[in-house]
Symmetry: C2
Subunit: 245 residues, 2 copies
């Protein structure tokens, strides 16, 4: 469905997201809203872009839940990041012409496809937006690094606490979380592939976190009764997200 990002102008997810990491002028906000897009809905467990693709547009998440992953020769999967409304998981495709990983929908997601050409036109007219998007990709990289630390040096228990903290903070930054929790349509199997663990162990770690009163997880509803404690358990310091304020 062709349109611009004007719909939901007030609470446009991209504007919310960009505002959370940088200051935008009115002109820049307008330029973003004027972007022509094609909105497409992806069902859960379908790919939005695949490893090896050469795409000519970027995918902006409007609603839903998305992840970046790669499948190894032996069939194992590593999830490298979760993306929520306002994120552009394949922004890199603007400068890296072949995708080196896949992007898939974890839940039914509405995606705005933005032509590279439209983005480039906008960035040429608004160099400051170019810097802001660059900044966004740098924050993406900072998240990869933080996950690396977890995978390399933190226990399963810490890792799980850490992702939950990250997701809560990011969801809150775009207005999708309550004060003490949010909705996470992520299965234990998906957590396993994100944290480099087996599904079985994820299950046990979640039970430990529950036993310790750090989380309440019913279905996809996450509640965090004691934020300080969960943060401490995961050694979570939001500095790497480089949010404003």
């Amino acid at each position: 469905m062709k349109s611009t990002l004007h719909e939901q102008a007030a609470s446009n997810p991209l504007l919310r997201k960009l505002s959370s990491i940088a200051d935008l002028s009115d002109e820049e906000r307008q330029a973003v809203l004027d972007l022509p897009v094609t909105v497409k809905v992806f069902e859960a467990d379908t790919d939005i872009i695949q490893d090896g693709d050469r795409s000519s547009d970027c995918a902006l998440v409007l609603s839903g839940f998305v992840c970046r992953y790669k499948i190894l020769p032996d069939g194992k999967r590593q999830i490298m990041g979760f993306y929520i409304p306002g994120d552009i998981p394949d922004l890199q495709s603007l400068h890296l012409h072949v995708m080196d990983s896949s992007v898939g929908a974890l839940a039914r997601s509405s995606i705005a496809l933005i032509r590279h050409q439209s983005l480039r036109d906008m960035l040429r007219r608004h160099p400051n937006l170019s810097d802001i998007l660059w900044r966004d990709t740098l924050i993406d990289a900072a998240m990869f690094r933080e996950w690396m630390i977890g995978l390399g040096r933190r226990s399963a228990y810490q890792r799980m606490a850490h992702v939950l903290c990250e997701l809560q903070v990011r969801m809150k930054a775009v207005g999708l979380a309550r004060e003490n929790g949010c909705e996470l349509p992520i299965t234990q199997n998906e957590f396993a592939d994100a944290l480099g663990l087996s599904t079985v162990h994820v299950n046990r770690v979640l039970q430990d976190l529950r036993r310790d009163g750090l989380i309440v997880l019913r279905g996809s509803m996450l509640e965090i009764p004691n934020w300080e404690a969960l943060q401490a358990a995961g050694e979570f310091d939001p500095a790497y997200l480089h949010l404003k304020r």
Copy 2:
């Protein structure tokens, strides 16, 4: 020592590096060479920038060997990437004002400090260079992702084979490797912190790789008798480095 990057113009490491990932016009090459820099030498095991720093310049590696790392509360260290001549490990500081990790010299290294202001001036005059540096940070991110895959889903043996492949390819791209090997001033302890392993296990894995005839490692001299085999052992596919050609 103040100067510009003109010295070693022909084989300037930054030009070599940028040329390996994108095409530069003569004007752009000149703009790069005209960058005013301050050259500083860092001894092995000293920090170039520290976690939490707000710096006003970027560090270009001219010679030596550098890594990005973070120390955890319990003293554990995770190395998140190695940087070789031509790399700018903290290019992110141009847009992310507080460092979220440290950068340290693994061997005596000569570093060219480039003021953010000088870089910004150059990028404003040469928007294409801006895109090329953005591309560079995106490749950096791609390397983090590839390491994540290793940390999360590959065995110690595979991981070690994989880093060795990555380093050989990157060293060759800037002319610092022979056809079948290169010099890597990295201790087993540093490999351990990079691969999320213990030093002891790194030692055993290296012995396994030697036993299997995949590498010859004497001191810091790496030789790769059978490139195909090492690549296969590490499931190494250089696509994520996004080199030209």
